[in-house]
Symmetry: C2
Subunit: 152 residues, 2 copies
DNA sequence: CCTAAGTAGTTGGTGTACTAACTATTTGTA
DNA sequence: TACAAATAGTTAGTACACCAACTACTTAGG
């Protein structure tokens, strides 16, 4: 808009905000998480906590470093998050009998029961976004490419 | 993997972690920002601060709420961020003479000069990711769709 | 067996992010 | 022109997210 060549900002300015993929990624991530928020709030979960529960519903039990690898998160991020999940009553952190350094994160009965409520979330999100499934699958495929490219 | 029907996790389990678009979005955003980090660190910028600078290089001066709208961020997030940018010497926060409530965020000489260094960043990122430009443009297009869908 | 190197998780520091409550100012309207 | 409603930005509280330093435990080499 303030460009000397009106209407060509995106083409001539490599630093144009609206053109940056990193900007679109950051906003998309935050705004989609914002769509989850009102659906997760009744379950007493934040979005990162929801992702931890997804991992546990699939692969319980998991050690902290296994969760860190699955979610690509720092153990220093997970450690307090898991304490909050334990305080919420959804998981327990048990000493691994084979290795006194390790913690086995396991689901409580409440944590397992929560999965039934969580089953309503994905369809609610898809409906709320109102995008065709192909579109979402295609986006997922391209995001996976970028993740692979960025984490080499 | 722990499924009773091996190899069909993604199809039969609507809560499969690897299948969630929100998960791919969160990881992609964090890992791409991770690619920027070593490039931004020499400039003394975090990624959110970099986005603020992009906005200012394009549209200076900007009020806090205009920045909030452009970056889709809460004023409560921007307020301390802008103080840190001011402490770094890249911006000044000036009282708007027409409205004593408002702040005009303006660039300092150092902030304007920083743009020359920043010009090296986008091509460095594209090269580092090693993805074809079409791919990035197409991803950007689909992210924009999702943002529009999520922020209605 | 004993010690150096590696591994598992925690802690503290800095910097986002979102919400809600708050102050200060401006605007709309009776 | 009073004054309620709206607006601009700050602050405090909670929760990530990354990093570096730390403790405790395990393993590998000698």
């Amino acid at each position: 808009m303030s460009s000397s060549t009106p209407g060509l900002d995106g083409i001539e300015n490599p630093l144009a905000l609206e053109q940056q993929v990193c900007f679109a990624l950051a906003i998309a991530s935050r705004s989609v998480i914002g769509v989850y928020r009102p659906l997760l709030e009744p379950l007493g979960l934040t979005h990162p906590q929801y992702l931890v529960m997804l991992a546990l519903w699939e692969h319980e039990p998991l050690r902290v470093n296994e969760l860190a690898r699955l979610l690509q998160l720092d153990p220093g991020t997970l450690s307090p998050l898991l304490k909050r999940l334990e305080a919420s009553g959804y998981v327990r952190r048990e000493k691994d009998p084979h290795d006194d350094r390790a913690l086995a994160v396991v689901l409580t009965d409440a944590g397992r029961a929560l999965r039934d409520d969580a089953l309503k979330i994905p369809p609610a999100i898809v409906e709320r976004l109102g995008l065709p499934l192909d579109e979402l699958l295609e986006l997922h495929r391209r995001l996976t490419q970028v993740i692979a490219a960025a984490t080499v």
